[in-house]
């Protein structure tokens, strides 16, 4: 219990109201370059998986920054919702769509790369310019609203004045889940072929009903490429894998026959332990 209270008081020790402690400053200057690095990975990584990992780095660092900024609830929600759920979904879809599905480098719009880069820099310049010219009040900090711990304070707002928005968001989530189900639903064009249908078709076609014979097991070889022998001593071609037959890699039964020491055709009754030992020792 004391450990828990120590853990809970850790965020508070990083920040003290609106003042930025030296610990928070260090945290920021360690995390900010890492976040920009991860975000640039999104922009420049050739493979989509690397971009996803960069974004995971950014999102986990954001969780640290939220916790440092007196928002531990949002920090935990960031880890659970974004890195836990959203990025997992992204990686999952990358797996479905194909990991090696990399970007084409052909420009379909002429000069799109330069215009896009200039627009991105322009957005950065405009936003940073606005922030640098604006004057902010002395930060008040959240010591008073967070008096009963941050989750309690946030819950008071959500379930108090924002209760209607909260309910609407619930409806939105259900709609999104239904939408995903509908969008990824695939309509079946042909009736499903199950085990019973396959069995019926096999009986109706009059083909082989029993399983295929296993490849032959002889003294000198029990490899996949040797056909088994039927009770009359003839090799069963189907007992060798179709792939080996197509490649022409199967051995004929006569090659094996020489090892066993038979003359024309081997009868199963002849293959006795004593004879097999003879065959193995030349």
């Amino acid at each position: 219990m004391t450990q828990l209270s120590v853990l809970l008081s850790l965020p508070a020790s990083i920040t003290s109201g609106g003042n930025v402690s030296s610990g928070e400053t260090a945290l920021f200057w360690v995390l900010a370059p890492l976040m920009v690095f991860g975000a640039l990975g999104l922009l420049f990584a050739r493979k989509a998986v690397h971009a996803a990992l960069g974004i995971v780095l950014v999102m986990i660092s954001l969780a640290f920054l939220y916790t440092a900024q007196e928002a531990p609830f949002l920090g935990v929600a960031q880890v659970v919702v974004y890195t836990g759920a959203v990025m997992m979904l992204f990686v999952f879809v990358l797996m479905l769509v194909g990991v090696d599905n990399s970007d084409s480098l052909v420009e379909t719009l002429k000069g799109q790369r330069w215009i896009g880069a200039i627009l991105g820099l322009g957005v950065a310049a405009a936003l940073i310019g606005v922030i640098q010219t604006a004057t902010f009040d002395q930060a008040r900090g959240l010591t008073t609203p967070n008096a009963d711990s941050n989750p309690v304070g946030v819950a008071r707002v959500i379930f108090g004045q924002d209760i209607f928005a909260f309910e609407v968001v619930g409806v939105l989530l259900i709609t999104a889940a239904l939408g995903a189900l509908v969008l990824t639903h695939r309509q079946r064009l042909v009736p499903r072929v199950g085990q019973k249908e396959r069995a019926d078709a096999r009986v109706a076609s009059g083909g082989r009903l029993a399983p295929l014979a296993a490849p032959g097991v002889y003294a000198g070889s029990n490899a996949m490429d040797t056909p088994a022998l039927d009770p009359e001593g003839r090799p069963i071609e189907e007992s060798v894998s179709r792939v080996l037959r197509t490649r022409g890699q199967r051995r004929s039964a006569t090659e094996v026959e020489a090892q066993v020491g038979g003359t024309s055709a081997i009868e199963p009754a002849q293959i006795e332990p004593a004879q097999i030992e003879e065959g193995t020792q030349p």
Binding site: F28, L42, Q69, L74, L94, Q112, G120, F136
Partner: protein, 99 residues
């Protein structure tokens, strides 16, 4: 350290997200750029909540997270269904109306 450093960081992340949406072709990466922009807006909201001493900003960031989760679900479902139909996740290949 001034708190506006957080705002500058959020702006940089937002701009990188914008550039990603404008430059990349893979629909999934474009989508991750949108997520980056939403995240940077969240950082902005949390910082302003601290500056103004009001939890409303954090609550708004919470709602942004929920809406982003819903958006990701539907968006990725659309990407998957387009990939099934066209065999490509590139935003350039979705030009059926043009041809």
């Amino acid at each position: 350290m001034n708190l506006s450093n957080y705002l500058v960081l959020a702006s940089i992340l937002f701009a990188i997200g914008t550039a990603t949406v404008l430059l990349r072709r893979n629909a999934i990466i474009v989508f991750m750029g949108v997520e980056l922009m939403l995240n940077s807006a969240n950082l902005l909201l949390v910082t302003f909540a601290r500056i103004h001493g009001d939890l409303q900003g954090q609550v708004m960031a919470f709602f942004v997270m929920v809406v982003a989760a819903a958006e990701v679900v539907v968006g990725l479902a659309i990407i998957v269904s387009i990939f099934r139909a066209r065999g490509s996740a590139s935003v350039d290949d979705v030009n059926l109306l043009k041809n």
